[in-house]
């Protein structure tokens, strides 16, 4: 690096720049850096939540955490949930975007309807789904029996693996509109002439999807997958409201475990340790995401 001698004006300009970004930096520190550091700090204590009294225990929270089966089970659940719901979101989201991209007369209406699950509050959505899933009077069991798929009502939320499958499906239903909107926006920018050229070159509908649509969607899909992976990984309210992590800890993911440690077991220090581990895991996704967006910009 070479240092270019700065003129007086340039120095004043730089000072002005610093002054202008200072408020942002300050807010960033207060709302992000401080909680982050304090979480790491708390994780080094054993703290009783109601009184917030605690004593220094060093890394023993982490030692305990890594040696408990519950952590590994929750991490496993977390991965199953994230991968399962993400795959469904992508598959249905892309498929729906392709359908909506066609020139349908009800396209405008369908596009607004499709956003409904994304906008409806999680609490309301979960209440509706709980009613659908109910093993006594739920419509899902009724329909499945009528269709001859099952003989007796199923317990969709109270037994495994049904509970995990249900959670994954509701998650996919709630968040696939995000994929639809992002993919649809990209689809509309693919030049029609590429498809026409491919038709002349002898590509059928499947080949056109594979050779033109998918490569064009690649970049946006990478971003969607990374963003949704981060968001799904830390999803709390949907799972908590639907199953509460049950049956037993069958659908308990790390965010639910953090909540349980902090407010049910009153072990704030331990909860902080779980949260820090989760953060470290998500940092990996973050780094990939940042690298990806950097590459796109260059």
């Amino acid at each position: 690096m070479t240092t270019v001698p700065q003129t007086h004006l340039e120095r004043r300009y730089a000072a002005l720049g610093l002054l202008l970004i200072a408020p942002t930096v300050l807010v960033f520190c207060v709302v992000i850096v401080y909680p982050l550091i304090s979480a790491v700090y708390l994780s080094l204590f054993s703290i009783f939540t109601p009184t917030l009294q605690g004593e220094w225990v060093g890394l023993s929270n982490y030692q305990a955490l890594l040696s408990t089966g519950e952590f590994w089970t929750s991490l496993g659940n977390n991965v199953i949930w994230t991968v399962g719901t993400l795959v469904l979101q992508i598959v249905f989201g892309v498929a729906m975007a392709l359908v909506l991209h066609e020139n349908l007369w009800f396209r405008a209406l369908a596009r607004s309807l499709i956003l409904f699950p994304y906008f409806v509050s999680t609490v309301v959505a979960v209440l509706v789904w709980k009613w659908l899933f109910n093993d006594l009077y739920g419509i899902l069991n009724h329909l499945m029996i009528v269709a001859g798929l099952i003989e007796f009502p199923l317990d969709h939320l109270g037994s495994m693996p049904n509970a995990m499958i249900s959670v994954i499906i509701v998650g996919a239903w709630k968040y696939f509109p995000f994929v639809v909107i992002a993919v649809l926006a990209r689809l509309q920018t693919i030049p029609e002439q590429l498809y026409e050229a491919a038709r002349i070159d002898g590509a059928g509908p499947f080949a056109r999807f594979w050779d033109i649509t998918l490569p064009q969607l690649r970049e946006v899909l990478v971003v969607i997958v990374l963003l949704r992976a981060i968001w799904d990984f830390k999803e709390f309210d949907l799972i908590f409201l639907l199953t509460g992590g049950g049956p037993i800890i069958g659908t308990q993911t790390l965010p639910l475990l953090v909540y349980k440690e902090a407010f049910a077991l009153n072990r704030m220090g331990m909860a902080a340790a779980y949260a820090v581990v989760m953060m470290a895991l998500m940092l990996a996704f973050m780094l990939i995401y940042i690298r990806q967006t950097r590459r796109r910009e260059s």
Binding site: P191, L194, R199, G202, P215
Partner: protein, 367 residues
């Protein structure tokens, strides 16, 4: 056998008729341009030939086979798009190989074909690049390569040169002509640039508002325009069109307008005494001596020639092309002599048909 025949082909878009009952018979190996102003239906016609658009009426035959319901891939045609439409994620080599791949040509056979095509178009050093790493002219050649590699019966080109700068355009024009001569394939070339059409084509189909106006070799289109539209459309500066009266005096036809009287030679049986339009190319009027007098209003010098605008009686303005050695000044009164043997006569009205009997009167050749 790769002649292309359109019989009464029509295309409606709702209330808009983009192409009206078009009849066009393109011979095998011919280079034909579709020329016309913007929105006249050139692209629509080409897309119907490609199978990307379907005619609402009429019949399209390629190589003797009716292709109205044949999908693009089965027509044995190739198309070069104005935007090139290269596959952005594929390398140049893969772009060129794509039509072969989709037709199930094995990899081992694709290779030499791609290499031969690349060599023909001087793309060999670029084979590993992606389209976005190429200049406009190079992209254009890749698009050509993708069309060439399959050796189709008919090439369809939609304004392939319009995205290039002027110099490259002239260069590619020559390359395309050479390519056509070498391959001997039927080519249908859409353009709104009359210079391109004039210099490259065997025949030009001039279209206006979805209707065919004339389909003839460039020289004939220039020297014997079929109607007033073609007369005004072809040539820069455009032909002077003067409204006047046609009369028969002792068996010879004569055209009169204020300050102008000219014997126009043989006319067809359709000719009637009464209102008519006279067409004079800017180079078909000599300045210096003659029966018509006018005042010079504008003088434009372009080096090898001068273009002047002269006002004659009745506020009629004539654009004239004169040698650089003659340089009148604005305001000068000049004497003009229209060349009667090169005067065009059209029936009255916007759509007036040509009335001269001679079909083509090429300028005498001097070698």
């Amino acid at each position: 056998m790769a002649e292309v025949v359109l019989s009464r082909v029509r295309r409606d878009f709702g209330a808009v008729t983009a192409v009206h009952d078009l009849n066009l018979a393109i011979a095998e190996g011919e280079f034909v341009s579709l020329l016309g102003p913007s929105g006249c239906g050139k692209t629509t016609t080409l897309r119907m030939l490609a199978g990307l658009e379907f005619p609402t009426g009429g019949e399209i035959r390629i190589g003797g086979r009716v292709v109205n319901d044949v999908p693009p891939a089965k027509r044995d045609i190739a198309m070069v798009f104005q935007s090139y439409a290269l596959y952005p994620h594929l390398s140049v080599a893969d772009n060129i190989a794509y039509p072969l791949k989709k037709r199930g040509v094995p990899r081992a056979e694709r290779r030499p074909k791609v290499e031969r095509t690349a060599e023909l178009l001087q793309l060999t050093p670029l084979l590993d690049r992606k389209p976005r790493q190429l200049s406009g002219g190079q992209q254009q050649r890749v698009a050509l390569g993708r069309a060439l590699v399959r050796d189709p019966k008919v090439f369809l080109l939609d304004e392939p040169l319009s995205n290039l700068d002027a110099k490259l355009r002239i260069h590619m024009r020559a390359e395309l002509v050479e390519l056509h001569q070498r391959l001997g394939r039927t080519m249908v070339y859409v353009t709104h640039d009359q210079l391109e059409a004039m210099t490259m084509s065997d025949r030009i189909a001039i279209i206006d508002q979805g209707r065919l106006q004339q389909f003839a070799p460039p020289q004939e289109v220039y020297h014997a325009p079929a109607n007033r539209f073609v007369a005004g459309f072809i040539g820069t500066p455009g032909m002077n069109l003067i409204e006047g009266t046609l009369s028969q005096e002792g068996g010879a036809w004569c055209f009169t307008a204020p300050g102008l009287r000219i014997a126009v030679g043989q006319l067809t049986d359709d000719a009637q005494a009464g209102p008519a339009t006279l067409g004079l190319r800017p180079e078909d009027v000599t300045v210096g001596a003659g029966p018509v007098s006018g005042i010079v209003r504008v003088v434009e010098q372009s080096g090898h020639e001068n273009i002047i605008i002269v006002e004659i009686a009745g506020n009629e303005r004539l654009t004239l092309r004169i040698p650089a050695s003659i340089l009148p000044r604005t305001g000068d009164t000049v004497a003009l002599a229209p060349d009667a043997t090169h005067a065009h006569v059209f029936a009255a009205g916007e759509a007036g048909q040509r009335l001269n009997t001679a079909t083509a009167r090429p300028r005498p050749q001097t070698l």
